[in-house]
Every structure is written in C-alpha cells, then in structure tokens.
C-alpha cells in the first residue's frame, strides 16, 4: 500500500488541533485524510468513510463507543486498537502522554502505522506547546493591565508619579513574596472598597 492509499480519519473535539494533525499528515504525503468532530451518528460516519486508521484524542468519550464497535466485528472490517505490539510500548507510552490514541484495521503492518502515529503525537505536543504559550501570553497581558490600573489609582488617589507608584507595588511584592500583579489586584480591590 502506498502512502497516498492510506485512508486516515482524525476524530477530535478540538477543531484547531484536528486541523494541525491533518495538515501534518497531508504534508507528509498522506492524501486521504478526513476529520470529524463529535457526532451522534459516529458509527455510520465511520462505516461510510471506511478508514484504515483512526486517530482520536485519548480523552474523547467517543472512544468508549468505538471500542464497542470494534468488539462487534460484524459492524466494521475487523479494526483493532493500535496497541497490539508489546515491543511498541514506548510509542504507546508517548501516545498516552501526548493524549493520542489510534485504532487500526487489522493486518496493517506496524512499520507503516508508526510514522502516522508519531506524526499525530508530535502534532499533539506542538499544539499543547502553542496553547501553553498562548495562555502564558494572555496571562502576561492580563498582569500588565492590572499593574497599569493599580498605578493609575495610586497616582490619582495618592498623588504619586508613575515611577513611584510602580516602585511601591514592587517593594510590597518583594516584601510579601508575591507577584506584582497580585499586589496590583489587592490595590484595586482596596480602592474599590473605599468607593
């Protein structure tokens, strides 16, 4: 079977992550990649697509439904979980940690499957990294806003200059071993109480 002949189905409740996985697979030469989100007629859709490999996020509750489907062999052409080869326990562990699971039609050779699963693992990890960075950036921006607001209040209510207001926040943060944004939040809360 040539790469482009593999039919791969990506099931993910997160459409952004599914798109990243799909793009990775297409860029590696797999052309028959489809993706679906959560759907109540999952069994019918899978039967219609007849994938050779299903990549699904590990925590997706649809997995319980899939496992039933695979246990009843008459429903689909004997697919089984990827986790068949004991010698592959490192790949499995990496997959579980990355939050990837995969189901594979019986009879596909392990060496043809591994690159696909590894691609999914690396894309899941990359997605996690992106999300972490985005969350951190958001948190930083939020901190900045709090500090600016607290500075504004101190300048307005206590007649401090901007530098003095910032130094006051910093000094208190160091003394209390807390983040400047936390001190800023307390300042804001305190001034709100007075109003």
């Amino acid at each position: 079977m040539k790469l482009e002949d593999f039919s791969i189905l990506v099931i993910d409740e997160n459409p952004d992550r599914a798109a990243i996985v799909e793009r990775g697979l297409v860029e590696s030469g797999y052309t028959r990649v489809s993706r679906i989100g959560t759907s109540y007629n999952l069994v019918e859709r899978i039967q219609a697509l007849a994938p050779d490999i299903i990549i699904i996020d590990l925590e997706n509750p649809d997995r319980d439904t899939l496992e039933q489907m695979f246990q009843v062999s008459r429903v689909i052409a004997r697919p089984i979980a990827m986790f068949v080869d004991q010698s592959d326990s490192n790949t499995i562990r990496e997959a579980v940690e990355a939050g990837v699971s995969a189901y594979v039609v019986d009879g596909l050779r392990q060496d043809r499957i591994r690159p696909i699963v590894e691609m999914a693992i690396s894309r899941f990890n990359a997605f996690d990294q992106l999300r972490r960075e985005r969350d951190e950036a958001k948190a930083k921006l939020n901190d900045r806003k709090l500090i600016d607001r607290a500075k504004g209040l101190l300048m307005q209510e206590k007649g401090l200059t901007e530098d003095e207001a910032y130094n006051l926040l910093r000094k208190n943060a160091m003394k209390q071993n807390r983040k400047i944004s936390e001190i800023a939040q307390s300042v804001i809360t305190a001034f709100q109480l007075e109003f």
């Binding site: 925590e59 509750p61 649809d62 319980d64 899939l66 496992e67 039933q68 489907m69 579980v96």
Partner: protein
C-alpha cells in the same frame, strides 16, 4: 513523615464516592497519602492512563481488569490488580417515557409485577415492531465490559429477548447518556446514578429495573492498580485500601448521606444537582416522573454487606458473562484467572488491625438469598432465582 503522592482517576458517577470522601474527609491524609483526583469522561481513557502509568490507581468497571488481562480491545495484555471493590448498587435500566407507555400497554401485568421481570413487556413491544416491519430499537450501556452491559443483557434474556438479535446495544459514555435519551438517539439505557434519576427528574425517562432487582449482590466498581505498582509500593497500597475502606464506612452512614450528596455535586466530582444525588443516596429514588419516591435502602451500598471485599465469586461471574455473550472464548478458565486479578489477600493484609469484619472464604456460592451468611453479605437473589457456583465453571472447555 512525608505524604505519599497517589494519582487516582475516576469517572463522574455516584460510586466515585469513596475516593472523593477519602480526600475530602481526611481519611487519605490520615494514612499519609496525598490523594490527587482526576476526573475522566471515558472508561477507555482511564484504562489507558492507568495502564501506562499516568495514574497510580483508578475507579474501574469490574470487567475492565479482566478485559485488560485478556488483551481485549486491542491493547497488549495489562496486569491490573483489584485489591478492593468500591461498593455496590447504583445502576438502573431507564427507558424513554414513550417506550414506557408502549411497555405498559403491551403487558400491564408484567409492568406491575417484579421489576426484574419487566423485560417481558419489552419483548411484546419488540414483537409488535417486528410484525409492523419497524426498525429494531437501540439501547445503550457504558462500556463493552461493564456490569451494566451484563445486567441489561441478563434482564433482557430473562424476558425472552435475544440482546444480540432483537435489539441494538451500543455504548455511550455515562455523562452523555441522558442527552442521547432526550434526543431520541436511544430508546433506553443501563447506567449508574445519577444519570437515571436525571432522566426521571427531567421527565424524559422511566426506570423499569434497578440493579438490585436483577442481582442484589451484583459487583460494580473496583479499585484498579497496576501489579508492578503493587509490588514496588506495598505500604502505599495498604494505606490506600485502608483509607478507602474507612471512607466506605463513613459514606454508608445514613446521617452522612446528605453531606455526601453535597460533596459529589461539585463540578470537579460528579457535577449533577444536589437533589438528584440526594434522592439516590438516601435510597429514595423516583422511578417515574411525578411519582413519589420508593424505598430502596440498598440503592447504594458502600460498606455493609462486605461491599468493599473483592469477592472472587463476583469477579468470576463477570468473566462468565463475558463468555455468555461471546466476548471471550469458552476455553478461558476464569475460575483460575480471577484469583490472579482479584486480590482478597491484599485486602486482608491492608485492613489487618482495623475493625473490619472479614469473610472466612474469598468466594461463595452466589444467589442463595436465605444463605446462613445473609446478615453479613446482604440480600442475594438473581431475578430468575438462579444460583452461581463458580466451581461449576472450573476449567470450562480447557
């Protein structure tokens, strides 16, 4: 003494109570365990994370350790040990209000008789559908290797229904059950509480049989731990079992049930409404929208009746059901295999020194409702009064 970290995965159901209580009421900490609870929405996910070391311990369906050992579901064989059970009860079979009306019209006598035999009415509805050329109905359970699947099939078979031919039985994760019934994707299901009471409270479903109507001593959830973890952390296993057994004792007291409902209603635990959880936990479930609650004192049994003891005969029964429904080859000898998975020896070791009453043997003949040990093990009748003696299955076919 520093606390030992234990990560435990659970699925949002009333029977996740023991780990929740162990953490919230300090029983884990008293055993020097820092218990981290992680909520999972799927049994496959919890099995995989336990198997590959993301979790140290898990709230599992009684059949999962057996299926994992046999490498069912495509995973390589996993050695998961069961040092204790996490209580009994809590499941029910709920049908849509529409199907309930049809069952009532088709066979009022069956619907007013013992609930364990209410499938006779379902059989009549199935016959009507067949005669009219209508498509077969769909029911759902929570996992292929769940006690729910075996209870639903037991109930149907006793009513003359062939669950493999007369009906579709699919799988839906517990938190999605209610929506599936409400949206008409399934006609009925077997799931643990609070997902039955929820359908009744919202007017979408009627409970036609309780777990205890099918088999009063039927096994439910167990504590699963990897065998290698048991070997390298024997003291932690003992401490965890002790903490959970003491939690069970607390959770079984009627005066603590309201507080337990409050605890479980939190979004990070079960996340269902307090009223629904309390109705179930007080043993006063409502079976039909608008009805008064019934008295079902054994709806949730956490401690009494040896509900935390990992009875070999209960585990073997699950294995025999796997064979009955063609999931496992008849040559598998569950009578031997079960004592390698269910570990009453670990339970006995852990509770030594605690005031926990222990049975003399690790197994018993199940289904004898008036057995000499009735007060100790609780009501024990199958809906068809059958007797399960695991010795009859020793080395079946192999």
């Amino acid at each position: 003494m520093s606390l030992k970290q234990v990560r435990l995965g659970f699925v949002p159901l009333v029977d996740c109570a023991l780990p929740v209580v162990a953490r919230a009421k300090g029983f884990a900490e008293e055993e020097n365990i820092d218990l981290t609870l992680i909520r999972e929405m799927s049994w496959a996910a919890i099995r995989d994370k336990l198997s590959y070391g993301v979790y140290d311990a898990a709230h599992l369906l009684a059949g999962i350790p057996l299926a994992a050992r046999l490498g069912l579901g495509g995973m390589p064989s996993q050695r998961i040990a069961v040092p204790m059970a996490l209580g009994r009860g809590g499941n029910a079979i709920t049908v849509s209000t529409r199907l309930y009306q049809r069952m009532l019209e088709a066979d009022p006598a069956a619907m007013h008789g013992p609930r364990g035999l209410s499938a006779r009415a379902l059989k009549k509805v199935i016959d009507e559908d067949r005669a009219a050329g209508r498509p077969i109905m769909s029911f759902a359970t929570v996992f292929p290797y769940s006690s729910h699947n075996y209870e639903l099939r037991y109930w149907m078979a006793a009513g003359g229904i062939d669950p493999d031919k007369d009906i579709n039985i699919g799988v839906i994760a517990p938190p999605r059950m209610f929506d599936s019934l409400r949206n008409g994707w399934v006609d009925g299901y077997c799931v643990g509480e609070p997902w039955n009471q929820r359908a009744v409270f919202h007017g979408d479903g009627v409970i036609v049989a309780l777990k205890e109507d099918i088999w009063a001593r039927s096994p439910e959830k167990v504590l699963g731990v990897r065998e290698d973890w048991v070997q390298s952390n024997p003291d932690t296993v003992d401490a965890l079992v002790r903490a959970l057994v003491r939690s069970a004792e607390w959770a079984d007291q009627p005066e603590n049930r309201t507080e337990l409902a409050q605890l479980l209603s939190g979004e990070n635990h079960v996340g269902a409404s307090f009223d629904i959880l309390r109705a179930s936990l007080l043993g006063r479930p409502v079976l039909k929208p608008g009805d008064n609650p019934i008295e079902a004192p054994d709806r949730h049994v956490f401690y009494r009746y040896t509900a935390t003891f990992p009875w070999l005969s209960q585990g073997a029964w699950v294995g025999i059901q796997m064979q009955r429904w063609g999931q496992v080859d008849a040559s598998v000898d569950f009578n031997t295999l079960i004592s390698d998975i269910y570990r009453p020896d670990l339970y006995r070791r852990a509770v030594k020194g605690l005031d926990v009453a222990l049975p003399h043997d690790d197994w018993r003949v199940e289904g004898v409702n008036d057995a000499a040990d009735r007060a100790f093990v609780g009501p024990d009748a199958f809906l068809d009064n059958s007797i399960f003696d695991m010795r009859n299955f020793a080395g079946v076919g192999g």
